[in-house]
């Protein structure tokens, strides 16, 4: 009791919630490294065209300079078609990030709507929604993606749809359980006692309290989605050649792996570092956003 109270005393001396989160986040060096890496990768994606011309360097083939090692002109060397590896990695980050962001956004919004409805309405509606989600949950995400890709045709659009759909049950569950906890808080009862309407209570009182948990989960799933996108492209179900997608690059590099190990190492590292950074960032955020984790 005393210990809990003391934390509140500490909290009372803090200037604001945001500075406080930043203070706790900053203490976690790994999370800080994750954040910086994510920012750098995001900058690469945003300024990809400035760093390297897409058509000239990442798509057009130059057989005369194929399989060169790193040099001043091509800092990461060139691939089997004489394309600049650096340019392809930089442009590839656009695919990975767009894809991960789009999927996360769609499943987050979809999941929140479904989960919040289930929690607020309750009863039979809740049971039906949850059972349908269970059914979705049983289907492996990869299988769903492969079948959707064969139905809608292979491409970015079908894997975004497929992975977004398979992401929805997870978010819906989290949102539902968080909302159920929040709806039992006395401040929700107080809002009801003040005569507030349902919409005002959900949007104004319940959602803001669930947001921090959703942010953390979104960061964690970004990492998973980057891996999924790479795997799908690797098996040829994702983004098609000649687009510079990391998973596809890894697959192409396999052919030259014996003599030119960097051909698989570079896209491999890109995937691992990006996924790891998002994971570390998510980890750090979950600790920083939850003051109970403090000591």
């Amino acid at each position: 009791m005393f210990k809990r109270k003391k934390k509140k005393d500490l909290a009372s001396a803090r200037p604001s919630g945001f500075a406080d989160i930043w203070f706790r986040f900053r203490k976690n060096k790994l999370a800080l490294a994750g954040l910086i890496t994510v920012i750098i990768i995001a900058l690469f994606a945003i300024f990809a065209d400035v760093l390297a011309d897409y058509d000239a360097m990442a798509i057009d083939q130059h057989p005369e300079i194929r399989l060169q090692g790193p040099s001043g002109e091509h800092i990461l060397g060139t691939d089997g078609y004489g394309r600049d590896m650096f340019a392809r990695i930089v442009h590839g980050s656009r695919y990975s990030l767009t894809f991960a962001l789009a999927c996360t956004a769609i499943s987050l919004i979809g999941g929140t709507l479904v989960g919040a409805t289930a929690a607020y309405v309750g009863g039979a509606v809740d049971s039906v929604i949850m059972r349908v989600l269970d059914a979705f949950h049983c289907m492996p995400a990869m299988l769903l993606t492969i079948s959707l890709s064969s139905a809608l045709g292979v491409g970015l659009k079908s894997i975004i749809i497929a992975l977004s759909i398979s992401g929805i049950p997870g978010y819906a569950r989290i949102v539902r359980s968080v909302m159920l906890t929040i709806s039992q808080q006395e401040y929700i009862e107080a809002a009801k006692a003040c005569g507030f309407g349902s919409l005002r209570i959900i949007v104004g009182h319940m959602v803001p309290n669930a947001i921090s948990i959703l942010i953390v989960n979104a960061m964690m799933s970004m990492a998973g989605l980057i891996m999924s996108a790479a795997s799908l492209s690797y098996i040829g179900m994702g983004i098609q050649a000649p687009a510079p997608e990391w998973g596809a690059m890894l697959q192409e590099g396999q052919t030259y792996m014996r003599e030119h190990f960097s051909m698989v190492l570079i896209p491999g590292l890109a995937i691992v570092i990006t996924a790891l950074s998002f994971n570390l960032l998510g980890d750090g955020l979950s600790e920083a956003l939850d003051p109970r984790m403090k000591d």
Binding site: S12, E189, C194, G195, R200, H205
Partner: protein
């Protein structure tokens, strides 16, 4: 004079499992005159909080009636209920969970005023919020502060200001001081009494602590397992407690003076029994030192011992 709040055979059952019912509030009759305070006392699980929430319509009643100034408000349409929220308010026990941590103090106090359109424009709203903060003793600098910057006592003041914003006539105080330290407890109790005198508020004061209600109540109702087992004017209850449970409660309170050693508390056996599908008869009988066979099997009724002093106990029938 017409009472502000009256309950007639009010019942609130919760369904548990397939065919069992938890009798949280069972046939409770109360009335609170304007400007008075009714203390509702009982231990955890006696249904005192459910009673307050059922009166306010936060839980729909299972049976019986709630009258507000003579008008039946048991089954209101949502729109009417919303309007009534302006006149009937609640103050909660836990100052840490009863105000939204994501909202600023001014937002928490101002939102109900805005929603019920009690003021025109932003300037007037701010003026009203500042006035309320002043009334409950919150420093003006806390206007833009967030709940985590406040201690328990100040948070409780925010909760009180929020309730007062709509200028209610009746407030259910659900254990408003039990989560607070003694020195802060006294400050909040005095504030509630000041507000009552100034604004002519009517309170229903729910607590587990008999010594707290003594100071604030005109009349006290003692609850046990959903039933009101004794009801009497405050002084009368402390002078002549009639129900064995009331006596046990009174003697169990540790008193901070030297005589505490001499007076041995009348210990009662066991713990509160289940409120699920209780059998007819006195619900306290299993723990009661005076229980006889006649206590079980048949429902008991309140007997009037002296004017205004009611008790539900076989010992006092006839």
């Amino acid at each position: 004079m017409q009472p502000v709040i009256e309950t007639k055979d009010l019942k609130k059952y919760f369904k548990v499992g397939s065919s069992s019912f938890l009798h949280a509030v069972d046939t409770v009759n109360l009335s609170i005159p304007a400007g008075a305070t009714l203390g509702v006392v009982g231990e955890s699980g006696c249904g005192k909080s459910t009673l307050g929430r059922t009166i306010l319509g936060l839980h729909p009643a299972t049976d019986g009636q709630v009258l507000y100034k003579g008008r039946d408000i048991t089954h209101l349409k949502p729109a009417e209920r919303k309007k009534l929220a302006r006149e009937m308010q609640i103050i909660f026990q836990d100052p840490y969970s009863s105000i939204n941590p994501r909202h600023s103090i001014s937002h928490i106090i101002g939102e109900p005023i805005k929603v019920h359109k009690l003021v025109k424009g932003k300037a007037e709203l701010e003026e009203r919020v500042r006035e309320l903060m002043n009334t409950v003793g919150l420093a003006p600098r806390l206007y833009d502060a967030y709940p985590h910057e406040l201690d328990g006592g100040r948070r409780q003041r925010v909760g009180i200001a929020r309730a007062l914003g709509m200028a209610p006539e009746f407030i259910v105080c659900d254990e408003p001081v039990s989560a607070l330290d003694v020195s802060i407890q006294a400050q909040i109790l005095n504030l509630l009494m000041d507000l009552q005198e100034k604004m002519g508020l009517t309170y229903m004061f729910i607590t587990h602590d008999l010594s707290v209600v003594k100071h604030i109540s005109n009349e006290i109702a003692v609850m046990y397992l959903g039933q009101c087992v004794e009801r009497a004017p405050s002084d009368e209850l402390f002078k002549n407690p009639a129900h064995p449970y009331t006596r046990a409660l009174l003697s169990a309170i540790p008193v901070p003076n030297a005589s505490a050693r001499e007076r041995k508390p009348q210990l009662i056996r066991g713990e509160i029994t289940s409120p699920i599908d209780p059998k007819p008869g006195c619900r306290f009988a299993v723990r009661c030192p005076h229980a006889t066979e006649s206590c079980t099997g048949e429902e008991l009724h309140l007997t009037e011992l002296s004017p205004g002093h009611f008790v539900m106990c076989r010992l006092h029938e006839n």
